[in-house]
Structures are given as structure tokens and as C-alpha cells.
């Protein structure tokens, strides 16, 4: 074994040994570095307002209205274009977010701690609606819901956690895998498992009966609430393998709707970017591929730690989304992902693939050698501002990101 193989093995072991738990609910303004009202962090690699796609711009506008920096979306667009706003990637400040992933000053964030390694990451609550800020929706329900997160849901979850202690996310991820989910496209069981954990405590700790009803009404029917917690699970695990010398394992894959970017362990926080791929999928009634924005969101952090497309075999029905005839294709995809990863998890397994461990530790060398690019399960946002989610499907991470990273890695060794 050489230096690289040893380093990659270390990364694989850490990914598998990670034990992320939901430990608290905090405010962005209190935990994110260098933040003020004019700081907007977003999904994907760095991007300017000028280059932002429709749904990303739309989400930024919504967030500025939410923060009270503008009265209307039109005014918000002017503020965003004025140069007053500091845009930065979520990934560069310890958080992640689905789709546009816009995270701002006043938002309550879930704090997820990797109990094995001590590192913390943050993520906003999932909006559990296709009319969501993260999809760039301009629907009137969006901003009141963000305020409700801030005033009702956030404090309630915080109090519940204080009462009951951390909620073990690794256990929920592991169980959901055995219940037909890969935790990126399908997260219904994960959401129910989470609800089952927290609901009894909420009943005890939320004093206001009407508020308790609102919370239960929001959480109980949500098929997606756990998406964000699964992402934080991914980020907390992946952050534990950052900056390992000689390590060629990917620590982040993310899209801002314009560019796709990856980070690699030994190369620290450098982004390697390429234009976002198109998403192959199916659409809600009335929409088609012509309406689709290119790939978007930090949610590919799930694939980075072996969930989502990597674990397609756990969610075989999903393959019909991109036109596969046979569900056998799901296992073929997971098998394919095992070709580009360092190893397979020892305890996070896919029962209908004879307890195959999920693929862990995407090695850029293997991606470049085999030209098998990570497959990503994803939602589809409308390319124009304000529409929200219009479908779901899959994309492939662009090979060029991995090739650039490999070149940079070789250069870094001299």
C-alpha cells in the first residue's frame, strides 16, 4: 500500500466510524462565521449574482424579503445586485442546504455534531413543500413559514432536544436504508423514524396546545423533513475527512445551478468546478425538460457519503425516474459506484442486495480511471424564478471536476 492508498483507507474508516447526531437548534447569526444581515450563503461553489440561475436568484430574493432587507421581490433583486450582499458557499462556512440552499442571518439551524470526531455542521429546516424557498418559489406561503420556523418550530425542537438529549442520525439513516430508502430521493421512512423519536418529547415540552398542533401537522405528513438532517449527517461525516495529506477522496459535491463543484480531502477547501449537468427525470403535470434548471443543491453531500445515487439499490423503484425498464438497474448502479469508492460500509447495508454495504469514499483516481462519474439523485427546479419544484431525476457529476482535481493533486505533490 502506498501513501495515497493508506490515506484513503483512513478516510474510509473515518466516514464509516462517524456518528452524527442532532444536538441543538441554534440561530445562524450565533454560529456561522463572519455573518451579518447582508451575508447570504448558498448551495454549490462560489457564484456572483450576475451568474446565478433563476431559482437561485429567486431564493435569494425571498431570503432578503424574509430578512427585512427589502419590501418586495423586485426591491430584493436590486439589493442583491447592488453589491451590498456578501455571497458565499454554505460548504465554506460549515453548513449545507438543499436546492438553492440559501441560508441567512435570522434562520434557525439544526446543529448536527459528529460525536466520534466532535465537528459540528448546520442546516436549516426542510420546508416539506414544493412551494419552498429552496426551489425558488415565490408562493405567499413561503416567507410566513420561515418566520414560523424561527418563532415556533426552532424553539420547540431546541427545547425537546434539551429534554431528551441528542437524536442519533446514524441510526435513522441505517434503518431507513433497510426500509427502501436511499435518503436523497426517498426519505419518507427516515422522516417517520425521526418523527417517532421526537414527537413524544414535543408533546411534553411544547406548552402552547395550538402550537403543538401546528408542529405535529407540519412534521407528521412530511415525506421530506429528514432530507436536511440526512444532508447534515453527510456533511458532518465528510468534514471529518478534510485535509488528510495524500487523500484523494471527495469531501464535497455540490451545485449552485450554474456550476458543479467538488472538494478533495488533501486539497482542502479548493473547489474544482464545471458547468452543471442537466437532470434526466420526469416532471410534474404541465412541465417538461425545457423548463428545467440545471442541477442544483448541496444535497449531493448524501452521495458524497454513499447515500442517494450511490445506494440506488436500496430504492429500486427510483430507476423508473430516468427511464430504466428493470429495477435490476438499481443494483447495477450501486455496483458501479462501488467501482469508484474506497470500500463498502460495514454497518450501513442494503438488505435487498444481500446486505451489501453502501459505497464509501469516492476516490477521484478511480473516477478518472474508469470514467464512471457519481450518480446523483435530485429534485428539479424551474429555470425561471418563482416556480418551485417541477420534477425529480438523476444527474452525473461532471468528469472534468475530477480530472482537474487529479491534476491539481499531482501538482501539489510536485
Amino acid at each position: 500500500m502506498g501513501l495515497i492508498d493508506d490515506a484513503n483507507r483512513e478516510a474510509y474508516e473515518r466516514l464509516d466510524a462517524s456518528n452524527p447526531a442532532l444536538t441543538d437548534v441554534v440561530f445562524a447569526k450565533d454560529v456561522l462565521p463572519d455573518i451579518d444581515k447582508y451575508t447570504v450563503s448558498h448551495a454549490g461553489p462560489p457564484i456572483t449574482w450576475e451568474r446565478m440561475s433563476g431559482p437561485m436568484r429567486s431564493a435569494v430574493m425571498g431570503a432578503l424579503v424574509y430578512e427585512g432587507l427589502a419590501e418586495t421581490r423586485e426591491e430584493a433583486a436590486e439589493v442583491a445586485a447592488s453589491g451590498k450582499i456578501k455571497f458565499r458557499p454554505n460548504h465554506d462556512c460549515g453548513c449545507v442546504g438543499p436546492m438553492a440552499g440559501v441560508t441567512t442571518y435570522s434562520m434557525p439551524l439544526c446543529e448536527v455534531t459528529n460525536l466520534t470526531y466532535g465537528n459540528k455542521v448546520y442546516i436549516a429546516f426542510n420546508e416539506s413543500d414544493i412551494r419552498a424557498l429552496c426551489f425558488g418559489s415565490a408562493d405567499p406561503v413561503v416567507i410566513p413559514r420561515l418566520h414560523w420556523f424561527e418563532e415556533v418550530l426552532g424553539p420547540a425542537v431546541k427545547d425537546a432536544l434539551a429534554e431528551m438529549g441528542p437524536i442519533n442520525l446514524k441510526a435513522i439513516v441505517t434503518k431507513a436504508l433497510t426500509q427502501g430508502e436511499e435518503l436523497h430521493n426517498r426519505i419518507a421512512a427516515g422522516s417517520v423514524l425521526f418523527f417517532r423519536e421526537i414527537a413524544p418529547t414535543l408533546v411534553r415540552t411544547v406548552g402552547d396546545r395550538a402550537q403543538l398542533q401546528e408542529i405535529i401537522d407540519f412534521l407528521a405528513p412530511s415525506d421530506y423533513f429528514f432530507l436536511n438532517l440526512g444532508m447534515a449527517y453527510g456533511k458532518a461525516s465528510a468534514d471529518a475527512i478534510k485535509n488528510i495529506p495524500y487523500c484523494t477522496v471527495v469531501t464535497a459535491m455540490s451545485r449552485n445551478g450554474t456550476d458543479f463543484g467538488i472538494k478533495v480531502s488533501a486539497l482542502g477547501d479548493r473547489w474544482f468546478t464545471s458547468p452543471c449537468p442537466k437532470v434526466k427525470g420526469i416532471y410534474f403535470p404541465g412541465y417538461s425538460e425545457a423548463d428545467a434548471n440545471p442541477d442544483l443543491g448541496d444535497s449531493a453531500i448524501t452521495e458524497t457519503v454513499g447515500l442517494g445515487g450511490c445506494s440506488m439499490a436500496a430504492n429500486p423503484a427510483m430507476v423508473h425516474l430516468f427511464g430504466a425498464e428493470s429495477t435490476d438497474v438499481a443494483q447495477d448502479i450501486t455496483r458501479e459506484m462501488l467501482e469508484i469508492t474506497v470500500g463498502a460500509s460495514k454497518d450501513k447495508v442494503i438488505p435487498n442486495m444481500n446486505n451489501q454495504g453502501i459505497p464509501l469514499g469516492i476516490d477521484i483516481r478511480k473516477v478518472v480511471e474508469t470514467e464512471i462519474c457519481p450518480l446523483i439523485n435530485t429534485g428539479i427546479a424551474h429555470k425561471d424564478p418563482s416556480h418551485g419544484q417541477i420534477g425529480a431525476g438523476v444527474s452525473r457529476a461532471p468528469l472534468s471536476c475530477f480530472q482537474q482535481a487529479l491534476e491539481a493533486f499531482a501538482e501539489s505533490l510536485g
Partner: protein, 576 residues
């Protein structure tokens, strides 16, 4: 355009299936827009905003499917709903998937019991793939050619360190544990163990052994260069030792072109440690090549098989010299004056070589693209002159083209061209079957034989077309069926290539005119369940499956998709 809405009560399908259902409906004639969704609260907004909800469609709940359409007619909508029902209830796709991986690692994950890698990737990638296999503790059959000599030596040294078979490069034929590898035949299992440095020769001998009532324990290939001075018989040594120690092997047969003298000495030393009978066929060498050992010399494949079968304790039928004499007299009488030349158009290299040696021994000059005598080398392999024997499996012909044992088109074309020459009397053909080769080589040759004979007849000439089939009854092509096809087309069918050459001579006559290694894991392979990773050509995997030998197909691609810059970077980063 009418809006038609239907609600299916208390029916559930997942959203992916329903979305596919609506796309399917939209593709139907007469349907402008369609929506199929569960009536959940979450979907409620979408459903109500769709404009596809007919007045009075009634209420729906979260366990109901809501179907809405804008259609040309009520009739079109009804048909679309019926189609949706069929779509939702039919089972899609098939459960048949062939085990496939993208890398050797993937194949081993798929089946950790794999013990042999069959590698047929382009030559310049072969060393890397073979190294991976050897490092994983796999025996290797390297079918690929165009592998550098130093790579061959390095690979074989690595294999010898681990006591593994490294058959090849350019190893076309082997039979391991009864499984035909590469171009090889399905022959009876028995007590004759073979090791050969020549592919079709090994096929010819194993098929003859089968036909004579004998059987094969193992047939190992070393690759054509193994017995040259540089490679020094590295693999021959290991194979001989393995056959020596193999209980199922009672007779050992060796086949190759003449080994380098230094290699012969090594072989003699090993043969002296073998108590079993040994028969050696060094095509083109002197009968005393192995003098001082108990090895029996055979001059060609036919003799080698006959001696081996005799030594193995099975009775053998006599050669039919009377048939040859009678056939030759009849054929010679049909030939016109001026018809004097023979053309041997071969797909099997060893068979061509065997014929060439017979010509040399008979003192009849024959031109060839693989001639030993430089004077007899064809200037242009594509153009025959006088007596000519062409190995059409040689690099000149196969560069970028499929091997003539797989694709017979080149040979068919050459048959027509050579037979059109009025001074040609005899056409010699091989017809090689077995796994990996063409499904029906005789069927491909037959029309060419008929056409050549008809064309000659139209000009008042007879053509003697002599063929032999290298295949067994158990081969997919079935020997007797191949022979019948050739016979029906008008060819004279001999039992083997050597006999075919003897018949040709009879017609022409009438015209006047390595050091032992510490560990040896080969015997363990013989005792194991054979499982193969097939890295490269897919038909080999089909062949393994047909023989019920477990096989994982590796969907091989060049590293980094052939991007040289990236491939160089990768190999630099590998050794860190």
C-alpha cells in the same frame, strides 16, 4: 377540448410510477395533457392548479388517485385510462442480468471465488490488467497479443513468485478443469495432460485425442514466445511440473515450435523428473531433440495425438492409407493439364505451420507469409504464388480485423481470388470450431467452396478442395455436422490437417509434376471450482456460461477512457 377527470378510490401507487403513467398518457394520440397523482394535501395545490379537474369530479382524499386529462374526445380519454391501467398492472423489465463489473476489483467483489482471469484487452493495456490479476492471486490466461517481450518476462516472473499460471501473451487455447478457454474445444475428459506453445496445434491435438477415444485432463498454453531464449520456458516449466504432480494426468504431451537449445536443456531436466510417459511434438525440429530422456518424439499434431492416446491405454484405429491413394488417383484424373499449384488458406496458425513443415520435409517448396526459409517468404501476403500456404490469422491480416477463426469473410474472399487462377489445382482449408470461434465456420466456407468449384467448372476445370475440421462432437459446432456441410459443398473432408496434407501430396505426386518454483498453485486450481473474470472480449464470457463455468464479465474500458494525459497522471500516482 374536453377535460376528463376520474378518481380511483383507495388505490395507491408511488409517485414515480404515477408520474411515468402521466407521461405515458400524454404520448398517446388524442391526449393533450394528462395528470395522475395521489390526492394528498401536498399534491392538492398542483391538482387544483392543473386545469385538469372537471366540474363535478367529486371530492378526493389522500388515498385516492386523481386522473385528469385534456383530450380530443371522451373516447380517447377512456382509451388512455385503460392504457394507464395496463401500464400500472404490467410487470416491466426482465430479471435477467448478466453479472458484470467495470474493473477486476468489481468482478472479485461480485464473486470472491474467482481463480482465473481471462484477459483479451488490446495489447498495450494487457500488462497492467494481467498484473492486477496476478496481484489478486489469480491465474491468468492472456489472450491479447502485441505485448512487449520484456512485459511478458516481467509478468511471468511475477506469476512464478506466486506459483500462478501466466498463460500467454498470445495464448489462444487452453482447457482447464474441462472448461474450454479462448479458442478451444469441448473434448472428453481423460488422462492426457497437454502443454503447448501453439494455439491451434493444441486444438488439433485435443480434438484428435477425443476422436481417437482418448481424453484430456488439462491443456495448458504458454504463449508462442515462451520457449524462445529470452523467456526461457518460464511457463513451460511450471506447467510441466503441474502436470507431473497432477494425479489425473497419466500421459503428458508437449507441443511447440522448436525451443531454443537452452530451453531444451531445461526441459530435459524437468522431463527426467517425470515418471509418466511423455510425448513431445516440436513442429519442425529433429527427432532427437529430446534425446537422453524417455520422451517420445512426434513429428506432427496427428502423430502426437495418436502416440498420446496409445500411451494412455486406449485402442486406436489404423490410418487409412488406401483411402488416400484411391481418392488421390480419382482427383488427379479430373484435373486439367496446367493445373499444378496448391493453395492452403488457413485460419489456424499452427495448422499452417504444420503443413509448411510437411512441405519442407517432402522437399516441395511452398511460399508462405510465415515461411521459415526467407526465400519462400511471400512478398505480399495478399498475393499467392505457386504452392502457397497462408496463415490468415497472422498480424498482417488481423491488424484491426477480427480473427479469421471468428470472421471468415476475408478468407472467403481469398478463396474466390486464388481459385480463379487457372493453374491452381488444390485448395487446402482448415475449419476450426470450439468455443470462441465462429458459430458455423463450415457454413461460412461452404458457399465459397460451391462458388469456386462452379466458377472453375464454368471454365472447364476441376478443383480439389480438401478440408479438415478441428472440432469435437461436443463442440457447439458439432464436428460431424461441420464435416457434412463441407462435404455437401463438394469438399473432400479429412480426419485432420496432417492427413489432408498427405492427401494433397498424393494428388500432386500423380501430376508429375525454467527452474522449479517453491510454490505451485496450479494443482490447486485443477482441484478447485473454476471461476473466471473475463476482462475483454464478450463472446468468451458467453462461452464460459454455456459451459456452466461461473464468469463475471468485466466491461473493460481503457484507463481514463484513453485520455493519455490522465492515464499518465494515474500511473504516476499509483506508485507513490
Amino acid at each position: 377540448m374536453p377535460i376528463i377527470t376520474e378518481v380511483w378510490r383507495n388505490t395507491y401507487y408511488d409517485s414515480v410510477t404515477l408520474m411515468l403513467g402521466s407521461s405515458m398518457m400524454e404520448a398517446l394520440p388524442g391526449i393533450d395533457e394528462a395528470m395522475v397523482l395521489m390526492g394528498t394535501d401536498r399534491n392538492d395545490t398542483v391538482i387544483r392548479a392543473s386545469g385538469l379537474l372537471a366540474d363535478g369530479c367529486g371530492e378526493f382524499g389522500s388515498n385516492d388517485i386523481v386522473i385528469g386529462m385534456r383530450a380530443d374526445s371522451e373516447q380517447a380519454a377512456r382509451e388512455a385510462i385503460a392504457e394507464l391501467e395496463r401500464f400500472l398492472t404490467s410487470k416491466k423489465g426482465s430479471g435477467n442480468r448478466k453479472a458484470a463489473a467495470h474493473t477486476l476489483d468489481g468482478a472479485l467483489r461480485e464473486d470472491p471465488g474467482i481463480d482465473l482471469a481471462m484477459i483479451s484487452v488490446p495489447g498495450r493495456y494487457a500488462r497492467a490488467e494481467a498484473e492486477k490479476a496476478l496481484d489478486a492471486g489469480l491465474h491468468v490466461m492472456l489472450f491479447s497479443d502485441n505485448v512487449a517481450l520484456e512485459d511478458e518476462i516481467a509478468l511471468k516472473d511475477r506469476a512464478l513468485e506466486k506459483g500462478l499460471l501466466m498463460m500467454g501473451p498470445d495464448c489462444g487455447t487452453a482447457i482447464v478443469n474441462g472448461c474450454a478457454l479462448g479458442f478451444a474445444n469441448v473434448v472428453r475428459r481423460g488422462n492426457i495432460g497437454l502443454v503447448g506453445a501453439a494455439g491451434t496445434g493444441l486444438q488439433e491435438i485435443t480434438v484428435l485425442i477425443d476422436r481417437l477415444g482418448g481424453g484430456v485432463s488439462q491443456a495448458l498454453g504458454t504463449g508462442g514466445r515462451d520457449l524462445k531464449e529470452d523467456v526461457g520456458g518460464r511457463m513451460m516449466d511450471l506447467c510441466l511440473e503441474a502436470l507431473r504432480d497432477d494425479l489425473a494426468t497419466e500421459v503428458i504431451a508437449i507441443l511447440s515450435k522448436p525451443p531454443h537449445p537452452s530451453v531444451v536443456e531445461k526441459m530435459k531436466r524437468i522431463i527426467s523428473t517425470i515418471e509418466k510417459p511423455v510425448v513431445a511434438c516440436f513442429l519442425g525440429s529433429d527427432a532427437d531433440a529430446l534425446a537422453g530422456t524417455h520422451a517420445v518424439f512426434a513429428k506432427d499434431c496427428e502423430e502426437c495425438a495418436r502416440i498420446a492416446v496409445r500411451l494412455s491405454g486406449v485402442g486406436l484405429p489404423e490410418k487409412d492409407e488406401a483411402w488416400i491413394a484411391g481418392t488421390a488417383a480419382r482427383e488427379a484424373a479430373l484435373l486439367a493439364p496446367g493445373q499444378r499449384w496448391l493453395r492452403g488458406l488457413y485460419s489456424g496458425g499452427t495448422l499452417c505451420y504444420e503443413a509448411m513443415l510437411a512441405f519442407r520435409d517432402a522437399g516441395i517448396p511452398a511460399y508462405s507469409n510465415i515461411a521459415i526459409d526467407a526465400d519462400l517468404l511471400l512478398d505480399d501476403p495478399d498475393v499467392s504464388r505457386e504452392h502457397t500456404l497462408v496463415d490468415m490469422g497472422e498480424d498482417f491480416f488481423t491488424n484491426g480485423m477480427p480473427h479469421p477463426m471468428i470472421d471468415l469473410r476475408m478468407r472467403v474472399e481469398r478463396i474466390a481470388r486464388d481459385c480463379a487462377q487457372p493453374d491452381v489445382a488444390i485448395l487446402l482449408l482448415d475449419c476450426v470450431g470450439g468455443y470462441g470461434t465462429n458459430d458455423d465456420p463450415a457454413g461460412a466456407l461452404a458457399p465459397a467452396i460451391v462458388a469456386a468449384k462452379d466458377a472453375a467448372a464454368a471454365e472447364g476445370r476441376h478443383l480439389c478442395i480438401i478440408a479438415s475440421v478441428t472440432a469435437s462432437e461436443a463442440d457447439p459446432q458439432v464436428r460431424s455436422a461441420q464435416e457434412e456441410t463441407l462435404r455437401s459443398a463438394g469438399a473432400i473432408v479429412c480426419d485432420c490437417n496432417a492427413q489432408a496434407v498427405r492427401l494433397a501430396f498424393a494428388i500432386l505426386d500423380r501430376l508429375d509434376t525454467a527452474e522449479p518454483v517453491a510454490e505451485n498453485r496450479v494443482n490447486a486450481l485443477f482441484a478447485a471450482r473454476l471461476a473466471i473474470a473475463n476482462v475483454g472480449v464478450d463472446p468468451f464470457a458467453e462461452a464460459f456460461r454455456a459451459q456452466e463455468t461461473p464468469c463475471v464479465q468485466v466491461e473493460w474500458k481503457p484507463p481514463a477512457g484513453g485520455n493519455k494525459k490522465m492515464a499518465d497522471l494515474l500511473s504516476k500516482l499509483k506508485d507513490l
